[in-house]
Symmetry: C2
Subunit: 232 residues, 2 copies
């Protein structure tokens, strides 16, 4: 599973949230970061190159600040030019068919305001309909978005949780599956550089954490089998 993250932000260096995400970007040959404003300072998009990039990835993610309930202008320009007829839709336009498509939204207003009666009055599901329609028209599977609300007000703990969610979002095949997230966590714990840990005690605790996660999974799998059996 190869993931392409297309970032659009007119002033990326000045955004603390975007800087945090860029610095949290996982080092993996299966994940590509692609910042539009950096690649195209003159806004002249290389359509052939962008289409090749899309073809070469299985999951396409748009990451942007949710200005006026949509993306910055350059990402819209990219959509209008790159997602051409006969490539993305229409006759023989099946190049994106079967890929996954999702949004990583950085949102300035609190989550609770995105509902009827809230300050914004509409839900994120309602406001992102145009993107759901893009996925539908191009035959892509629309993912649940990763929504990041009010980053500047986040505690350190919330930021660490975000870092984990973000890395999982980009690297795990199915980030909405508990099983896949567990496997990811075990993998991370196993590849930790134990020499960097302050004592053999931390090392012991990590081994125990892995053991516990694995035991939990065995128990969950057994329960699932039991339930399946009851239904037969």
């Amino acid at each position: 599973m190869k993931t392409l993250v297309i970032i659009s932000h007119p002033t990326l260096d000045e955004s603390s949230s975007q800087q945090f995400l860029v610095q949290s970007f996982p080092e993996s040959e299966n994940v590509t970061l692609h910042h539009l404003e950096k690649n195209y300072p003159d806004e002249e998009i290389d359509v052939q190159k962008e289409q090749a990039l899309l073809k070469n990835h299985d999951r396409i993610l748009f990451q942007f600040p949710f200005y006026w309930y949509s993306s910055p202008p350059l990402l819209k320009k990219w959509q209008d030019e790159v997602l051409e007829e006969h490539f993305a839709f229409g006759h023989r336009g099946n190049q994106l068919n079967g890929k996954a498509f999702g949004l990583i939204l950085v949102i300035g207003v609190a989550e609770k305001e995105y509902q009827t009666g809230g300050l914004e009055g509409f839900s994120i599901s309602e406001l992102t309909k145009p993107y759901q329609a893009v996925a539908r028209k191009t035959g892509m599977h629309y993912l649940k978005p990763l929504e990041i609300y009010q980053f500047p007000y986040m505690t350190e703990e919330e930021k660490m949780k975000l870092l984990i969610s973000y890395q999982q979002w980009l690297t795990i095949d199915r980030p909405d599956s508990l099983k896949y997230r567990e496997e990811w966590m075990i993998d991370q714990l196993e590849t930790l550089d134990h020499t960097l840990l302050d004592s053999s005690e931390s090392s012991f605790i990590i081994d125990k954490a892995i053991e516990l996660l694995e035991d939990n999974r065995i128990e969950l799998d057994e329960l699932n089998m039991h339930i399946d059996h009851l239904h037969e």
Copy 2:
């Protein structure tokens, strides 16, 4: 009632529908046509000038081709820069409060496809939620959009109907009211240059049409009064 029509189209001269609309634009001091790409070929928007223009009008209309269920990029840039906090929303940001806001959408796909089960799968009401949210946040009254489907396939008669709808949309206080549309039609008929008509017969027909419209209105008003009376 002063109306501002903000048009965004990257290649206006090449669009037959936009050319038709621009040529149909009513000559009136109360209607302002403002084509963004023409005014800002370098895309450097004069925020002060745009905000002054907004303040000077009572009804703001966005006219654009509905590419990927949204506007061309320059109109989005305009939104992000002109609709600032403290001007359009937030503390003391009440400059657009009470104005009317609407969309004039030029749409390439047939109307029937914009529904569940149709090719596009979503309705125009769903896809334009971000604009409804803009109206809500800035305190503007959201109008029913003027939707123009598949202009190149229109018959001459359909185009004439569109011309009338478009002119009414821009000049009448309440284009959704039959009474206001009648008044507009009488006004148009009365100001026709009779010397341009081919015979005195046409002139006679027009006078009769005006008379008929006026008689209809009197009868409708009487019926309304009668109904109100019954309810008392």
